[in-house]
Amino acid sequence: MQDTIRSSIKQTSLFGSFPNSTWKMPRFSFLYGISILIVLLALLPVAFLIMRALGAGEAGIEYLFRERTINIIFNSIKLMVAVSLSAALIGVPFAWLTTRTNLPYRKVWLVLGLLPMVVPSYLSTVTFIAVLGPKGILQGWLAPFGITELPEIYGFFGAWLAITLFTYPYVVLPVRAALLNLDPALEEAAHSLGLSRWRVFMRVTLPQLRPAIAGGTLLAALYSLSDFGAVAMMRYNVFTRAIYLQYTSSFNRERAAILALVLIALTLTLLLLERYYSRNTKNYRVGVGAQRQIKQINLNRWRIPALLFVATPIILGVIIPVGVMLWWLTGRVMVESVPVSMTNIATNAVYVSFIAALVVAVAAMPLGMLSARAKSRFSRTLVSMSYIGNVLPGIVIGLALVFFGIRYLPGLYQTMPILIMGYGIRYLPFSVGATRSALTQVNPCYEEAARSLGMKPHQVAWRITFPLVRTGVISGGVLVFLSVMKELPTTLILAPLGFRTLATRIWSVHTEAQFVLIGLPGLVLVTISAVSLWLIIGRERQSTNAI
């Protein structure tokens, strides 16, 4: 699961859609050979992890039914349900208010409302702790009034708040798209049949939005399961945190593997559900042809409450985190010079991200080609299997590589190559997607023309295909680069001793309770996420235009 907006916002790209090209790729066997190798490399660690967990036998089953384990499962499901509900309860009205009503500056609100997904959950969590936590900023302000204790932020409440703010935009996006696609004639017909506005919404509008709501909510649920930063910092004991604790403190890796297995099972179940609903979305499209302008609903006296409603998640999800970080930055770091270690960390992060992006871009090439040009069921399966990094939580992938590395690559444990491999598995889908969408925009007849002018297949690749896909492939690489920069759980588990990135720096600063040092790396990370999001949206737009 990615920390940024996942490419599955456009449902088609999660598992890829496959244009029907009658064009056959030359030297397919070679391409298949390499692709199979890459997919195996991506799948093996997780497969090994599952084997180990299953191999635990009776002791494993006994552990699974311990009270602590049951508690973890219960906590995870509780958080997931709560986050899904609140994401839907914020996302649906938000989409409706910014799409169908005369809310002032609704386009601006919409863009601002999507911004919380740009703030990595561990960052917003740190700022919430700083503001609402014990001895926090808010308490400092309230102290003169004699208020010395605030409600507990650690635990369920804090985790729920942070993840909800991070995920509700995933409901807003599909619901808004569905609202724009609605045929206004249906609502007018219902009105003319004597239904009140409220009943029209409940009986005509809402049923048509159901698949979009379900899809977006399931996405939020998936995030709540896979998130590490927020739950770990809020000390709420769910799968990801428990796995990390088992791995780091007790060194009982078998147990970590068992927890990971249950988490994988839960994630895959949700994913299947999401696919099921997103498949239905297509059937619900109505009025594809030229449509009339959808009538705006006049909010009248509900204007102020509506404005408050859309402003609240924006204040909590963007303005507080960014504001607090800015305050830290100007308040302290301006007087103290930037610590030397910071530049070190930044160089580290840039260096490792660059290598990871390069490796991923190269590894994604053959898969992207298969995905864009081959239409067999086998190639489709192969490509969707390479999307494992998009599906499983980062902590699981990190753990899988630890197991796999210790058993099969002992010399590489806690070295750069294993870390790069972890990033590779996680972000391969980004590059495969970018390569695929770049290739689908290259009309196969260019390649045919080059062949008929006497070029051999590899000459065609070099002189025609590669120059045409270069921009797309590079933008995929940049996306990987930016994602690695802000990656937390995989880095925590796999990084060599003493190796720090911006994200792990924030993590360790949090544990040292030195919040003010977060200002600079935090703002850098927010900028990085914003650029990633912008890149993804740009790519989606490009590929939809091409179709």
């Binding site: 056959k24 045919e448 023309a449 008929s452 002018l453 070029m455 002189r463």
Partner: protein, 338 residues
């Protein structure tokens, strides 16, 4: 003269449905063969089989008496002009044309200059493809395909993306250029007018099969069956009893172009019907049902007394009215098939 291209018994299936069924074609060196048929008839697949973009399930393709069925695309020396032109968007006109050329810079420059002149593209060498008009792109595509001097040139509906007003002119220019180079061409179109005016030979395809091969005149005047007659121009069909070089039908005794016997159908092109005012004593009686006036000529829908509807094409200066009674006759020998 020898055959520059021979396809024998080509068959190609996609996912179990046959796109091309047992198609055989051959063209003399320097000839211009058109594959004509409705969309989905397999004409483009046939072209792609010849180019090597698809591999036939069975059958053989020879160019200049050499079997090329298993040769890779780049070794076939078969050029192609694509419907969308497929000009490489990242390189300029000169580089596009030079793409398939061998030799040193100097030789290439000479050849490019020659092709630019031949196609009337002087001065456009440094333009990028997107800076060209549709007609210019079309000629660059042609120049690029001609540059490596292929033995056979394939053209996949190259005129379909041009404005109707441009099309006739471009068509004539292209035909002259191709005649000048003396190259053997296979052309694909669904436009019968284009096929009739450009080709030496036309192969009419339906449903993956080649129904008839012949000169444009043969295809138009002597279609072998109803499908061909219907697709290439407009036709009326009248049942008749043939006995040798005449046939008896509702029009009485009619001369046949070729001898036939037994139950046949007469193929009567609209312009073959002769219409006169009701007072004439030749022909049979009919009434005018509808009139489509085109300026240069007009079409009349007429209904024979036995209820058969016919279409006639007549000159533009004789006027009839709806429901007017006219007399229809068949003054010339007609074509019949059984």
């Amino acid at each position: 003269m020898f055959y520059a291209l021979e396809c024998t018994h080509l068959t190609k299936q996609f996912d179990g449905t046959a796109a091309v069924k047992d198609a055989s074609l051959r063209i003399h060196n320097g000839g211009f063969l058109t594959l004509l048929g409705p969309s989905g008839c397999g004409k483009t697949t046939t072209l792609r089989l010849i180019a090597g973009f698809e591999t036939p399930d069975s059958g053989k393709i020879s160019v200049h008496q050499t079997d090329i069925t298993d040769l890779p695309i780049e070794k076939r020396r078969v050029g192609m002009v694509f419907q969308e032109y497929a000009l490489f968007p990242h390189i300029n006109v000169g580089e596009n044309i030079a793409f398939g050329l061998q030799g040193n810079k100097h030789q290439k420059a000479d050849q490019i200059a020659h092709l630019l002149r031949l196609l009337g593209l002087d001065g456009l060498t440094d333009r990028m493809p997107h800076q060209l008009s549709g007609g210019q792109q079309q000629r660059v595509a042609l120049a690029r395909a001609l540059a490596p001097q292929p033995r056979v040139l394939l053209l996949d509906e190259p005129f379909s993306n041009l404005d109707a007003t441009l099309r006739a002119q471009v068509r004539r220019d292209v035909k002259n250029i191709l005649k000048e180079t003396g190259i053997t061409c296979v052309f694909v179109t669904h436009d019968q007018e284009e096929a009739l005016s450009l080709s030496d030979q036309i192969a009419v395809m339906f449903d993956g099969r080649v129904f008839q091969i012949g000169t444009p005149h043969e295809i138009y005047a002597q279609p072998i069956n109803r499908d061909v007659a219907d697709f290439v121009g407009e036709a009326n069909f009248i049942p008749a009893e043939a006995h040798g070089d005449t046939a008896t039908s509702i029009f009485g005794q009619t001369k046949l172009q070729r001898t036939a016997h037994g139950q046949v159908e007469l193929v009567i092109r609209p312009e073959m019907l002769h219409i006169q005012g009701g007072t004439s004593d030749t022909g049979i009686s009919a009434s005018v049902q509808w009139i489509d006036y085109y300026g240069h000529d007009q079409r009349l829908g007429i209904l024979l007394e036995n209820g058969t509807p016919l279409v006639a094409r007549i000159n533009a200066h004789t006027f009839y009215e709806i429901d007017q009674v006219v007399r229809v006759s068949l003054p010339h020998a007609v074509h019949a098939f059984s």
